[in-house]
Chain length 333, copies 2
């Protein structure tokens, strides 16, 4: 079935069929019904290829705002973004990426404004969760996709990690390892960061079932290796946890402290930085739970482009990537 055939069957022209197909109005009601009936009866499905070929005449300009570039985690997100943009090359995508070093709300707002001046049609952003950013994003007249970290603003979709679930899976790992009970220490960046506390929440929910496991109050390392080293060092002088769960960054410093103490302590981490990779392969880290950063970037662009070019909304506003358990012999194909 083609538009031409539909038009013939309905005794009209392709242009009119197209108007009905896209609800552009300006069609006599009876004619409209007739066309709809023919479409219905013939099970007409528009050819996506032809449609995309036409659509590719329009350019869709997508702006991306990322921070902390240089960090391998975010590099993977960026790779996913570029991968999907390359896939849409023929489809008329145009990408402008603003990379910000560190976490500056001021710089993030400047980047958004620059993109606005470049007339972007949609925005993908890893937002910093402060009131000012929320205000700026809410006043935007274009579709927004929040990436990796969510924030309360009107948006087309959030693509990122289900942190509570990530914490639960780490709790499952702790239960496996400490099947005869034991004490757990938790190290996170900062209790004001939603993702970090959600991980702790999930961890406790999962481990709560195991009576023989005792969990100590989380330690904060500000995602900094030096602080992490110092705090873990202190911790190990005072107590003797059987397992440490590193639910954020600062893993390198923390592990250094563990290794120096000489005792055998099980370690569970998150993500897959070079440090984690090295210690996982050497057996120092028992397991790590990753969140598919590449897929996050990939999917964010995919969703936004489909909204812009084809008005196809995502099924769900929340798009969580998989929390994957990697062990010593896990491969990254």
């Amino acid at each position: 079935m083609t538009v031409k055939e539909i038009a013939e069957l309905a005794g009209t022209s392709r242009g009119t069929v197209d108007r009905v197909l896209h609800g552009r109005g300006n069609v006599r009601p009876e004619l409209r019904s007739k066309i709809l009936k023919v479409i219905e009866e013939t099970h007409y499905k528009p050819n996506q290829l032809a449609r995309a070929l036409i659509n590719s005449r329009k350019k869709f300009h997508i702006g991306v705002v990322l921070h902390s570039v240089g960090n391998p985690f975010f590099e993977d997100v960026l790779k996913g973004i570029r991968y999907r943009a390359a896939k849409f090359e023929s489809h008329g995508i145009e990408l402008t990426v603003k990379e910000i070093k560190g976490f500056s709300a001021r710089e993030q707002i400047d980047a958004i404004n620059e993109l606005k001046n470049e007339q972007i049609d949609g925005l993908v952003i890893m937002p910093i969760d402060v009131a000012e950013i929320r205000r700026v994003l809410s006043s935007l007249a274009i579709p927004v996709v929040t990436l990796n970290t969510d924030i309360e603003v009107p948006k087309v979709a959030f693509v990122g990690c289900d942190y509570v679930n990530s914490g639960m899976i780490c709790g499952d790992l702790a239960k496996l390892i400490l099947c005869n009970g034991g004490t757990v220490a938790i190290v996170i960046g900062n209790a004001t960061i939603a993702g970090h506390t959600e991980r702790v929440k999930g961890f406790l929910a999962s481990v709560g079932e195991a009576e023989a496991i005792r969990v100590m109050t989380p330690i904060e390392n500000e995602d900094d290796d030096d602080i992490s080293y110092r705090k873990v060092k202190e911790l190990l002088q005072e107590t003797a946890p059987d397992l440490i769960y590193f639910g954020a960054a600062g893993i390198e410093g923390g592990i250094r402290a563990v290794l120096e103490c000489g005792r055998r302590i099980h370690i569970v981490t998150v993500d897959y930085t070079d440090t984690v990779k090295r210690y996982l392969k050497s057996g120092v880290i028992a397991a790590t739970v990753t969140q598919q950063p590449f897929v996050q970037g990939d999917e964010a662009i995919n969703i936004l482009f489909n909204v812009l070019a084809d008005d196809r909304q995502p099924r769900d506003i929340n798009n969580y990537t998989r929390n994957q358990v990697l062990l010593r012999n896990s491969k990254e194909y």
Copy 2:
């Protein structure tokens, strides 16, 4: 850059540019060089959308031979196949699926011959590894993709599980759980099935590093729940393993025997059947390692269609899906 522009710059016609682009010959050498030079200089990239639109005029008929349908694992493979076929609907794909119940080489050969009569352009098959099938497949003049189970025949690609690695990851799990040492029993279907022995091999390679872990000789249950029940029952009367690794089917029967014995034994399994799911969620199974059956079906069709429609060979002949560790709280988004 378009073919038209290339033609103008090279002072020739679109038809001739097209001939050069596809190496169809019949172009004067000097003209050919000139066209290639222009293509090079302008960084011309053919528009995939337009190309696919044209290609969709041709129909590519793909035959699929699957066995053991009804088994949820294979159902997921089939879902992946249908998913990708639907994606290629506009691209001119035509699919004929032959489902065989059980493992009959005879029926598999009949299915292949029926597909041959239907003039398929390519074949996706989960081959039964016997000489006769190898002979039939080798004599086929069309591209073949082996799915889930590999077999020594000329082929475009194999898509399936890296069984050795799957076993290694299960070994990693055993090491986590038995961090203070212990005894492991292994249950597989049959030592003549490559995937099963490869899993054992991987498991031993991984566990071999841990001196405190003793691994017993694998038990064979013929992938049958009743045999599995009986054999595990016997095993538990004679010995007291701390962990049982079920590296194939017959999990339901085996676990029944474990539960009846009343002792606490850690269980690690493969795949994600309803039985596994239920026992994983209830904490009876500690962890399972899955092989992405949906992705296997999806990817097999994807690879074969790209070969047929666009002559795009896969990068690698072996396409392994991820061996994923699922724990109690793992989600299937």
